[in-house]
Symmetry: D2
Subunit: 357 residues, 4 copies
């Protein structure tokens, strides 16, 4: 029940942070698709660790190995499995914390659920490392969406209390630019403050969080379902599969609660046979179904819980109170690396819905 | 795919706002439960329309009729179906808007998806009226949870820009009080401002939205799963099945993105053999699994889209631009009525997870 | 988990034999279909009890009441729910057997599972009466398939040891004739022996079983999936939802195990651009996927377990050994009434697969 | 939809016959289980090819490599993935048949479904080779069932027209002996005839089929559900995922259709507080729920479709009629190798149901 998601397109995620590999099986992928290796590897490279001072020093090439479901570079229609080997793991770093639960990590909750049998090295199956396989699956999905004229793109909406600009009317151009940027902000000025905030947190043995904003353009009106099969339900259910996510909002989101109906309502007009809205406070979705406006949502990412400062916690075996000092290599901020992960799950969710229509 | 939700406990919702009835089938309900009719009817009464000047004048008794799955008041283990008849429908109110899409309603999106075949009277299957059946199912689930020592309770966290207090350390006492209040706020002072805001919007032929905050107490640590079977994923996927919801956040939610790790992390301690946290910024869930702290989440409810003011829109058949003036009886605010609906879906989600463990 | 079936088209069955009603919700039904009431009622009439001396004297009109999902006779795309009221129930008949488990019925197994809370009157939710709602859903599905050129039809292949002819090359004509017959045999001669066997069993306070053979024609090649999503898997999983079914076989079925490969293999040829096989021992399915030949399968139906003869059994409460004499009105044979039920589930399974392709 | 099965315990199967590997991910496996490597490898060895003259000469060691979900030999609760490398593949054998559809294989059906993109080498994902991964998952499931006192065991009930004895009252002893036999028959005499039939077919460039009979003992009464969640539905849906299966029957199966109710009914008695039946024509299942008697079912396996004799078929690209002579190494009979595969899927189905209760 835990690590499989989807109806028409199913992904099954497996592996651990400090095991041999992480991987994913994609079941229900259309046949006859020539996978665009460059596109997929570029997509994955945006999540890859070890690239700069804003993320962990763990260095992984993150090259996916396709072990089945493909013949001469073309999908066969059979399940496609990709594995990504873990090459730079240092499990020794975790030896001394094996019995001390790291605050705000899954350690204690997982210890209770799995009776102490879970792999605690690097967080095991709970690790953000698992998102490498999700991003592979998402890159494949995004390639298929691109062929249907649908673009999925995200940016760092905020880090700590520094905000980026939002999406404008010319969203397609914004998305095209964002896809090229190593630090995905719309307004490059905002990157300066964000990066300073990350380095400052790093220096203080602390961490920061932020918000990722994602847009899906080109999606026709009429996709989704009322109630539990709605676009918001489907996207939210997979977005919360990303570690560290604590919230999601669509369109104006929580801000819409402070508007009046006359301010919030997206008035409708037709122009040249196309139906549009004067605003997009509903984020492209009404009644669970797309209305032809861009789908917009934001995801709250908490500050990396792994910090080197001493923290109060308990010994999992004795329940004695103690203090933990987490060693190892950690991201002072994962928001920038979460950008392609959010895009990936959005692409998987949208493709799953389209294949099921 | 649309109106069925759940794994071990499945609910199947059916009906339309201005049809004969709405209803729900609960599949997988444990046998041998003596349904507490008073509890269920009180639960449903909190959602019922026509009770005061803050909600629609539509007057429905909302008495559920149990048509199967029960014998001498006790659940048999077979699917339990309840129907709620629509007694006070005035479909004439919709006759003249049948071709004009109501802004921020599902009308246009549904028209495209269902090629004009959807029942537009009162929103049909998209109507908030459907939540009557969800609340029935949720009340049944909540009764079962109560027997396991688990309480689900919610309050109006805000209406427009007026906020209620939040949950305190004495959350159990707060929930007990809230369950008795017709207008569910923790601090009765805040009700005054909220009600004034609702009446003011009503007078201006407008509407307001707000936030519902929900708590689940008594849930043991270890419930849930990593990744897509996490508690947040499951709750979010059903919460977005409620019409008008535009966001959900757990624990500190979007605010956690502005904290540092050292501020956000919930340090752990043991006391008398019990494991607790010094704070609850994760809202009782880490790695998708409960950690024994109360599960806390907030839901953003948009202002009722049905407002009487003239709004720009299109004719669904001709695509001509026009102006709509929505008649009929509408809620100037649905936040107060959404409180039991949020509780209901939370109870369903939690019971589904517990039955599947 | 129990009474809901399907992926793209989901049916949720509810009700009890001696409760107020039985019913079904169809979720995922395409919109814009004008339901053919005559077609559906004729389909259901073939299953209806009380029509002749070969089936139970219980007399039910079996008129479905459509309570939602339809507007002016046309499907809206919202869940379609139909209920069928139980008008001729005589629960008194069951009063004295409430504690004695009827052999080969679900009584004992259900008593253990539901701890004695299950509705034992007429078998409750386990009753063949529930197939009335399945047949409604199947008739709707069959109507949609007909519009796509796909025909589902079945006949009584055998009753006791009397066999009907099998399907011939002119299967379409056979199916057309069968749909008109109250006692669905291909060769009318065989009906004489079958009916005699039924009446003889009835006279001896006994019952007989038989085999229903079903064909699906017009299905294009390429429908289905390898492994667990195969046509055989999907049809089998829903067929065993019919009470009294103890076996299913496709094509030559169990007889294929006595052939050699050279006898069993369906050699292939093309004629006028159409691909066919010289034989159809695989029943139109290879590797889980249709090959364009008619899909053929047979279903084993056990003799009605309700017989009036004294039978050894136990008292469910005391576990004392005893003897039961079942009273009430029972079918001496349900094979003839199972014909439209088998067609119904086949139609549901095929439509579900087609909608998901 | 195709290669994933299960509710509480999910298996996701991947790989191709002549690709690098086949594998399986088991999601939902309980934690804390020390995998019994010997037990699993013995289980898998019974399916392994290349062991004697009755099966294909393809020689595979079939050693599973566990890549995640396990730590120090103990299951962690995270998805467990095992891969089995294909070491003795000779794809050259298939080069000349790439365009000619092999009769009774999936070639033509798959060609239509996958538009020619499917991997045809050795049948690709449709190959019986995939059952190696299913058997791994089944062996793990069977180990867990053993710890709960549940035994799953099968034998060759027939090959061509030679039959083995059936299960007797002392079924536990029979199963214990069968697990040790390389050629799994109850009555060793029957093996002589079966093996002669296989070798005779082999000599004639032909093949034979047969029936596998499976028993599940130790399962308590009360497992399963009415309707679509019944034990028969669940087992049938996974059994038809095994290539070459054309039928399944429970208890007396198709033979029950020739009995009267008084012959077929399993009369009930209690003895020393235990409830049993005087016969087991229902195969341990009534109303979809176990009744405490052994679950018994039989599976029809068709003769291996790959035979060396010339067969009429078509060219997949040109649709021209032609003749195929299949080369390569093939099993003259797969029934004996199907025995552990049937056990495997039965174990998976039962464990899935037990974990969901």
């Amino acid at each position: 029940m835990s690590s499989i998601w989807g109806n028409s397109l199913k992904i099954s995620v497996f592996g651990e942070s400090h095991g041999e590999l992480v991987g994913v099986t994609i079941d229900g992928l259309p046949c006859g698709i020539t996978l665009d290796t460059d596109y997929i590897e570029n997509f994955m490279a945006r999540r890859r660790p070890g690239q700069n001072e804003y993320s962990t020093a763990r260095n992984e090439s993150d090259k996916p190995t396709l072990v089945c479901g493909i013949l001469d570079g073309v999908t066969t229609g059979a399940p496609l499995t990709a594995v990504i080997y873990n090459s730079d793991k240092k499990s020794g770093d975790y030896a001394d914390v094996k019995r001390l639960a790291r605050p705000s990590h899954a350690d204690y909750a997982a210890h209770i659920k799995y009776l102490g049998n879970n792999d605690i090295r690097g967080g095991g199956h709970f690790s953000g490392r698992l998102t490498a396989s999700i991003v592979f699956a998402g890159a494949v999905a995004a390639q298929l969406l691109k062929q249907r004229g649908i673009t999925v793109g995200a940016h760092i909406k905020s880090v700590a209390n520094i905000s980026d600009d939002g999406f404008s009317a010319d969203i397609e151009a914004q998305l095209a630019k964002l896809a090229q940027k190593p630090f995905a902000v719309i307004n490059d000025e905002s990157a300066i403050g964000m990066q300073a905030a990350i380095l400052s947190a790093k220096q203080q043995l602390d961490s920061v969080g932020g918000v990722v904003e994602c847009a899906i353009t080109g999606l026709p009106a009429g996709v989704g379902s009322p109630m539990f099969g709605g676009v918001e339900s489907r996207i939210a259910s997979i977005v919360f599969g990303i570690p560290a996510v604590k919230g999601i909002e669509f369109g104006a989101g929580f801000d819409i609660t402070k508007m009046t109906g006359s301010q919030a309502n997206d008035e409708i007009y037709a122009e040249g046979g196309k139906v549009k809205c004067h605003s997009n406070n509903n984020g492209g979705i009404t009644g669970g179904i797309t209305n032809g406006m861009p789908v917009i949502f934001r995801v709250a990412i908490k500050p990396t819980p792994s910090i080197a400062r001493p923290q109060r916690t308990i010994d999992l075996k004795t329940l004695e109170n103690g203090v933990i000092e987490i060693k190892g290599r950690h991201d002072p901020c994962i928001v920038q690396r979460a950008v392609p992960v959010v895009e990936a799950v959005a692409a998987i969710a949208v493709l799953d819905m389209l294949l099921g229509e």
